[in-house]
Every structure is written in C-alpha cells, then in structure tokens.
Symmetry: C2
Subunit: 336 residues, 2 copies
C-alpha cells in the first residue's frame, strides 16, 4: 500500500488535432475507436495539472483555472483517477488542480490535453516508478479518446486495438516537418450544439456510409504514415483535407442529418482553395466543430494570414506549430 505519502504529481500535456480523424467507437465504455487515427500535437495549447492523493477527503475534487468544478461533472475525471488508484493500489481520493493554456477563444478541444495531463499527474502522485507512456496513453484514453494521442509529441498514431490493453497511441517516425505550421481560424468559440461524442454515436448508428468511412479512414492512416515517413508535405495536406471532408460527409448522411459547418467554415474552405489556385501550398482540416485549421509551411504563413485578415479579425487567427509530448517537471515543462 502506497497510500499515505501525500505526494503531488505534476504533468503538462499538449492538445492535438487529428489529421486522420477519430470518428466512431466500437466500445463506448472502454472508448475503443472503430478506426486508427493520426494526430499532430500542438505547441501552444496545453494543460498543466497537479494531483495529490489526500487522506482527509471523501471524493475527488477538481479545480480548473482556480474555480472548483461541480462534482457532478467529474465523470471522466473519476474514471481516470479510479484506474490509477486500482493500478497502484491507492485508496485515497485525489485533489486535482488544472490550468488550461488553451485560449478559450481558440475553439480547440481541451479534453485531449486535460485528460493526458491528468493521467500523467495522477501517475506521478501515485508512484515513484517512471511513467510508462504506453500505459499513460491507455489511461488517458479512458478519460477522452483523443487524449491517448496527447501523451506523445509530433505525429502520433492511435491504434484502435480490440480491448483496453491493445488500444493506445505511439509516435510516428517522420522527417522534414520542422517548418510545419497550423493556423487556426476561429469561427465560433461558443460551446458546440452537438458534442463530438454524440455526433459520432449518431453517425455510427444511423449513417448508411459509416462502414465505408471506417474502411477508408484505416486506409488513410496507411497513406498518411507513408507521407510522414518520406516527408511529403503536400501528400500530408491532401490526405488530411480529404479525410476531414469524408468525416464531415458522414454527418450529412446521419438520420437526422446534421453538420458542424457554419457559413464562415465554408468561407474559409473557399479561401484555402483560392490560395492553392494561387500557388500557395496549404490545406485544411476541421474537427467536430466549425473552426478551420489551415496546415501550411512557415514560408506561406504571411500570405495566408494576409488573405485571412481580409475577412477575419486578428484575434480569430491563431498560429502554432508542432508540439512536444507530456512532461512531468514544472521547470522542464516550460516549453514556451
């Protein structure tokens, strides 16, 4: 029993965007996806989390950005903490303090970085054993599917697996992507009408296209890995853009049909197409929301921003680049 040390664990994890989307679960409880997915970890958006297992509390307690979160909203947090407690035979509850460095206006999901950081901090609070990243990826997955990928930096593959033990992320060997840039265009920072978890469930249950989506997405993973291995930026961009469109295609085919696109989403898609016609190498991807992420290289950033600024405000345009994996020391953790 390692249940009286009151040690505090710390972790910083960065959020990610999917280049081949996670869209559909084969197991709702274990959060096993129907298809493999590939993500890119982002430098400027991350979550810092501290966890302490404490003797004198009777349930887990969470503070985000200094504010106590209602206990009824800790469902996913409790699942992660329970897993760590079980693994290391802890019988105390956790006090959790989390700070999100994902600008609320960015319209980026913070659940990936939050659940990854929570897993890492809980591990460090529970044991002196060095964190096993593959194990952490599985634990994070139980909190939020895409969090499994935020354990690693750079390009990451989430292997769908067939049970808890086989569904985890691994880093992908790549070259030539140091100058890759992601420009997020924020269309709407309001909460989504249809949460991604509900959207993918509706699609999986009602779309006549779902089985073909799964098949195609798994093929896209293979193609993307080859593009990453040879360092082919345009191939990466084309596969990511097509895969995003395919995912959004499935929402229109659900019953009832729905879409995450808003008018400005289409406007940005058109801008990217026009930029490409003008010889600027850029592509887009869109998660389960209206905001668009433009994938480009450093030498195109200025042209793209100039074009976007004709229609969007400066604070709707956020640039970032490839980010690192999870870290466990407050000092080492200051990447930026």
């Amino acid at each position: 029993m390692n249940n009286t040390h009151n040690k505090t664990g710390f972790a910083r994890a960065h959020t990610n965007i999917a280049l081949v989307k996670y869209w559909g679960k084969s197991d709702e409880d274990l959060i096993l996806p129907t298809n493999d997915s590939i993500s890119l970890t982002l430098r400027d958006f991350y979550t810092d989390t501290e966890v302490t297992f404490e003797k004198n509390i009777k349930k887990n307690k969470l503070w985000i950005n200094g504010s106590r979160v209602d206990d009824s909203k800790l469902l996913r947090v409790n699942r992660v903490i329970d897993l760590v407690k079980k693994k290391f035979k802890i019988n105390q509850f956790a006090s959790i303090k989390s700070v999100n460095h994902v600008p609320t206006s960015a319209g980026l999901a913070s659940s990936a970085s939050a659940m990854a950081a929570l897993s890492g901090a809980a591990w460090k609070a529970a044991t002196d054993l060095a964190p096993d990243l593959r194990e952490l990826s599985k634990i994070a997955r139980i909190g939020s599917g895409s969090a499994s990928r935020s354990i690693y930096g750079g390009f990451v593959r989430w292997h769908r697996g067939i049970d808890h033990d086989t569904s985890f992320a691994t880093p992908i060997p790549t070259k030539n992507f140091d100058d890759l840039r992601i420009i997020t265009v924020v269309v709407n920072s309001a909460a989504k009408k249809i949460l991604s978890t509900n959207g993918m469930k509706s699609v999986a249950q009602t779309s006549p296209f779902f089985d073909s989506w799964v098949q195609q997405a798994n093929q896209d993973v293979t193609k993307m890995i080859s593009a990453l291995e040879i360092g082919d930026f345009d191939k990466l961009g084309m596969i990511a853009e097509q895969n995003a469109m395919l995912m959004h295609s499935t929402t229109l085919s659900a019953n009832p049909a729905f879409t995450y696109f808003e008018p400005a989403t289409l406007q940005i898609i058109n801008i990217v197409h026009h930029l490409r016609e003008d010889g600027i190498h850029c592509y887009f991807t869109i998660d389960a929301g209206p905001n668009v992420k433009i994938i480009c290289q450093q030498n195109s950033v200025t042209s793209i921003k100039n074009k976007l600024q004709q229609d969007f405000k400066q604070d709707q345009i956020i640039e970032t680049q490839v980010g690192p994996g999870i870290t466990f020391s407050k000092i080492e953790g200051n990447h930026d």
Copy 2:
C-alpha cells in the same frame, strides 16, 4: 416519309425539383441513372418551344429567348432531334424557337423543362400521331436525365431501367397535396462551378460512399411513394430533406471533395431548423447548386416568408406550387 409538311409543333413543359435525387449514371450515353428518383413538377417555371422541320436548312438551328444559340452548343438538342427524326423517318433539319419562363434569377435548372418541351414540340412537328407520353419521357431523357420527369405534372417517378426502352418516368398517385407550396430561396444565380453532370460523375467514380447512396436512394423512393399515397406531408418532407443531405454528403466524400453549399445555404438550413423548432412544418431540399427550396403547406407560407425576409431580399424568395404536365397547344398551354 413525312418530310415535306413543314408543320410547326409546339409544347410547353414545366421544370421539376427532385424529392429523391437523380445522382449518378449507369450509362453516360443513354443517360440511364443508377437509382430511381422522384420529382415534383413546378407550376411557375416552364419552357415554351416550337419546332419546324425545314427543307432549306442544313443543320439544326436554335433560338432561345430570341437569340440564336451557337451551333457548337447544340449537342444535347441534336441528340433529341435525331431520335425524333429516326423514329418518324424525317430527313430534314429542325428550326427551334424556345422561350424560357424560368426567371434567370431563380437559380433553377431549365434543362428539364427545355428538353421536355423540345421533345414534345419535335414530336408534334414530325407526326400527326398523338404524343405517347412514355415515349416522350424516353426522348427527353436523352437530352437531360431530369427532363424525363417533366413530361408529367405533379409527383413523378423516373424508373432507372436497364436500357433506353425501360428508363422512363410515370406519374405517382397521390392525395392531399393541393396545398403544397415550394419557396425557392435564391442564394446565387450565377452559373454553377461544377455542373451537376460532372459532379455526379466525380462522385460515382471516386466516392467510397457511392454504392451505399444508390442503395439508400432506391429505398427512399419506396418510402416516398408510400408517403405520397397516404398524403403524409411531414413524411414527404423528412424523406426529401434526408435524401438531399445524403446526396450532398456524397460530394464531400468525392476525391477531390467538393460542395455545392455556400455560406447562405447553411444559413437557410438553420432557418428551416429554427422554424421547425417553432412548430412550423417545413423542410428543405437542395439540388446540385447553392439554392434552397423550402417545402411547406399553404398555411405556413406567410410565417416562413416573414422569417426569410429578415435575411434575404424579396426578389430572392420565389413561391410556387404543384405544376401540370406537358401540353401541346398554345391556347390550352396558358396555365398561368
């Protein structure tokens, strides 16, 4: 040989919108569709056409709204005329005068009404035999797939068939739809960037979802016929709306992906959803273009127009209702 009578044939045919879409060909030359489709013929949009087989001309000549059309653009017109000439052993060329009563701003395809009227007028110019509507439907199909449906009024089914002789439209028995109204909201009256014929070809060749689309569309036809037979307006609307979304879903799944939606298209989709939440029974359908057609009943027209007028100009909002089939007499033909 019936080749010296210089008789003029006249026909008026109305355009139609598809409630279950025609989207994909199994034979490009014969224009055989991959799935059955269902349309509604529209009262206020039609084409008047006169055809005369003339001794002293050496090729077909076409005037639209009084202006001579370049001979290089008569490909589809020549196909229709050739078919009629072959059928009735005519060896003269045709002089064709066509007037489109489809407001150019309406953003509605006029090829359906144009090719249907051309077929009827050519038949009347060629022979004194009373027109056989099923034959006319096949001839019109050779000019433009959706024209096969414009031979009949009201609700029409195009049977996909397996060859020229089995691919034609028939009227569908219905009840309770006299108060049905269609409100077209014109987003963009400019020519389409991707013609529907090219769009459907790209989808059929590249979308992993195409086979499922065909299967689902054929099921939608069966469901729609049952809704029409029992006179269930809401069922009609729901099936039409889902089918339209499914068709547009396939464009996002093509490679390269594309969409006919423009920002305002999504705006109108949202308006329809909000109207429905407010208890107004209305649904939308969208053809291979950005304009939205709202399907409703007479008693909802005022509420819907009032709502639309908050965002769109009066001349972008065009109301019509169920229209008649092809007619062959100039006097009888004055429906409006």
